[in-house]
């Protein structure tokens, strides 16, 4: 891999220069661009792809399992892709995927961050693959502007942040100091949820936010940060607001190690461990996000459009980008959520938008 001789080097250089002059084009040769005819696909020709960060956390593993359940329901299999929380790798996988056969491709994607959504959308649009995204989307990107981007589903993060904030305030008796554990700082979810907390704080003026630190959605980091915060604020600390359940569970472990039982903890996502903790009474509240349903619903919308049972034009604008139904889970109602099941009826074509709580404003 070295120039073995000077002539080679020069020839190579000239070739490159010549190639550059030969001209550039907008498209890769041989790429068949443009969308496929909606509804042209036979059900058995549809390819279902689900992509999440990794299979090593329960929420996203359950998501993919939900996708599998839906695929089985329609007699197909789902390609499970994971990108290990690596934005570039997600883009790389998508562009590789779209370079293959995109005729009847249905993708249910969890973009790593807001900024990862636009290239995925543009790629799908160009290649004619059916796309449903969840969680992350820049606010100014309008789903209705695209033909192949069928829908964007998320939970109202501001709402969830506020709900658990209120629950926390109630649990500590309406006054006292709390700390916030933030998620990965440059994700929309983390920001929305924290904005929700701020709304809640405004409504509960006696609750004081002593500190906010990031623990990157990670249980391990939350443990270390909470320990430090516990020593820093000592008994002033009455409650911990965590932007997801993993961090809440890390905070619980720190509290246990510190021998503190007087601190209330809230999280978001309703992962099984958090539900158990709420049942045990060690955790105060969480907000449900239904992983298995999310894994199935995206594929279901795409499948319905691909097979012609649903037309893009017929999808109402408020169903192009919508908040899915969520519930505040506390000790009172935790029993209802401990065994989430995929309900096949949710994935029927005329039922796919049934959990909508309204369009994203």
């Amino acid at each position: 891999m070295k120039f073995t001789s000077r002539p080679t080097a020069i020839v190579l250089g000239l070739t490159l220069a010549a190639a550059a002059l030969a001209g550039c084009s907008e498209e890769a040769g041989g790429s068949s661009s443009g969308g496929s005819e909606a509804g042209a696909c036979a059900p058995e020709d549809v390819t279902l792809v689900g992509q999440v960060r990794n299979e090593s956390n329960p929420y996203e593993a359950a998501w993919l399992d939900g996708g599998d359940a839906f695929a089985e329901q329609v007699g197909l299999t789902q390609d499970r892709l994971t990108y290990d929380g690596d934005s570039t790798r997600q883009q790389e996988q998508i562009s590789q995927l779209l370079a293959g056969d995109t005729e009847c491709l249905v993708m249910n994607i969890l973009p790593n961050g807001d900024s990862d959504t636009p290239p995925i959308v543009e790629g799908a649009e160009e290649a004619g693959a059916y796309l449903v995204t969840q969680w992350n989307k820049p606010a100014d990107l309008n789903v209705a502007d695209y033909d192949q981007w069928l829908s964007h589903i998320t939970y109202n993060g501001v709402e969830s942040g506020k709900q658990i904030g209120d629950a926390l305030a109630e649990a500590i008796g309406g006054s006292g100091g709390i700390v916030a554990l933030q998620g990965i700082l440059d994700t929309g979810a983390a920001k929305d949820r924290f904005a929700g907390l701020e709304e809640s704080l405004a409504a509960n003026p006696d609750v004081e936010l002593l500190d906010d630190q990031t623990a990157n959605f990670s249980r391990d980091e939350a443990l270390a940060v909470t320990k430090t915060l516990l020593t820093k604020h000592g008994d002033d600390l009455k409650g911990i607001w965590a932007a997801n359940d993993d961090m809440a569970l890390g905070a619980l472990a720190a509290l246990e190690q510190a021998g503190r039982t007087d601190v209330a903890v809230v999280g978001i996502d309703a992962v099984p461990d958090a539900l158990t903790a709420i049942e045990d009474g060690t955790m105060t509240a969480t907000v449900s996000s239904d992983g298995p349903w999310q894994g199935g619903i995206g594929l279901a919308i795409g499948f319905c459009v691909a097979t012609g049972e649903l037309a893009v034009e017929d999808i109402a604008d408020e169903d192009r980008a919508w908040f899915a139904e969520q519930f505040l889970i506390t000790g009172d109602n935790v029993g209802d959520f401990t065994s989430p099941e995929v309900d096949a009826a949710d994935f029927e074509c005329d039922n796919v938008f049934s959990r909508s709580q309204g369009a994203i404003s």
């Binding site: 090593s56 320990k227 430090t228 020593t231 472990a253």
Partner: protein, 337 residues
């Protein structure tokens, strides 16, 4: 001297200073830096200088200390080890599935811990074998083994979070002795064992020697390869124990249990005075480095530095600490890699 031609220009031996056995400036730098940073934080932040916080720092340093024990031996040889995340992940999942847990009926207790550590040691051994048999640089073998470890962990994880209910293992993180968690005492034990290995075992001394002059060992008829494999195996075992400790702290087995510990441990070892080129430093140096890094992390939170800036400030201080340690020893024609 019978022949004048043998006379050398260097005729007289000047009195030679006695060989240094004490502490040199190079060794003293990191502890001084630790003391300075500690005092600085103590002055700035009242929360920092409480007994509770010092206990907290010691507890928080435990896992990193154990990882660093392992990596120090590898660095002493002049190799590098990036396998901690994978090996720790595999050990964490393995132990959480072997002791009493919510996924299966196993209740192996201490034996489960042992098996997890052995699994980790086996992964470490794999790095070492690839290094000596395939002659692939350790940078790559350990990177590869880390990926393999994460793969194994993901396989074992199987989509459902394993939570441990084993009281003994959970107790390690909760029970305290003389104000410190059992885990912290385990870390102390690891540092002590590491130090004993470094000073009193052939493995440790040879690891040191390999970093000093590997070719000489071969000339002396020492087969270096088995010792290299053994060092990586030992390092793997330490990572495994660290993975178990993380599991004990979180009461759950995480695939990501070791995320970030590779660079954190290397940073700690280097800040403590272990050279990446090998042959210098040791366990005690690394222990100081671990405390330095932990004090920094803790102090920055205590002082209330914005979370956005914390990483940056930490990086700056690490560079400054190393710079302060090397600047007095600069020479004109010194090689810096």
């Amino acid at each position: 001297m019978t022949s004048p031609a043998g006379a050398d220009t260097e005729v007289v031996l000047p009195p030679r200073p006695q060989p240094r056995r004490g502490v040199s400036l190079r060794d003293a730098g990191p502890p001084i830096a630790l003391a300075v940073i500690f005092l600085l934080f103590a002055l700035i932040s009242p929360g920092f200088r409480t007994i509770g916080n010092v206990q907290n720092i010691m507890d928080a340093a435990a896992v990193l200390a154990v990882v660093t024990c392992g990596i120090t031996f590898v660095l002493m040889m002049g190799s590098i080890d990036l396998s901690a995340p994978g090996v720790m992940g595999a050990a964490a999942i393995a132990v959480s599935l072997l002791v009493a847990n919510n996924r299966n009926g196993n209740d192996w207790g201490l034996l489960g811990v042992l098996v997890a550590v052995l699994l980790a040691a086996a992964l470490g051994c794999l790095s070492g074998l690839a290094l000596v048999l395939l002659k692939v640089p350790s940078f790559m073998t350990t990177l590869g083994v880390s990926a393999v470890g994460l793969g194994v962990a993901t396989l074992l994880f199987g989509g459902v979070q394993p939570n441990i209910s084993d009281e003994m293992l959970r107790g390690w993180a909760i029970e305290r002795f003389l104000g410190l968690a059992y885990l912290t005492w385990i870390a102390f034990g690891c540092v002590l064992i590491g130090w004993l290995i470094q000073c009193y075992s052939r493995l440790g001394r040879y690891a040191f020697a390999i970093g000093g002059a590997e070719e000489v060992l071969a000339l002396s008829g020492v087969k270096v390869a088995p010792y290299k494999v053994a060092v990586f195996t030992l390092a793997g075992a330490f990572y495994g124990l660290a993975g178990v400790m993380v599991t004990s702290q979180l009461s759950a087995g995480l695939v990501q249990a070791g995320k970030g510990y590779d660079f954190a441990a290397i940073t700690a070892a280097v800040v403590g005075g272990t050279l990446l080129t090998g042959g210098r430093g040791g366990i005690l140096h690394s222990a100081v480095g671990v405390l330095l890094v932990t004090v920094l992390t803790n102090g920055l939170v205590q002082v209330g530095v914005s979370p956005y800036w914390q990483g940056g400030v930490q990086g700056l201080i690490v560079v400054a600490a190393v710079a302060a340690a090397v600047i007095p020893q600069r020479r004109r024609n010194q090689v810096t890699k």
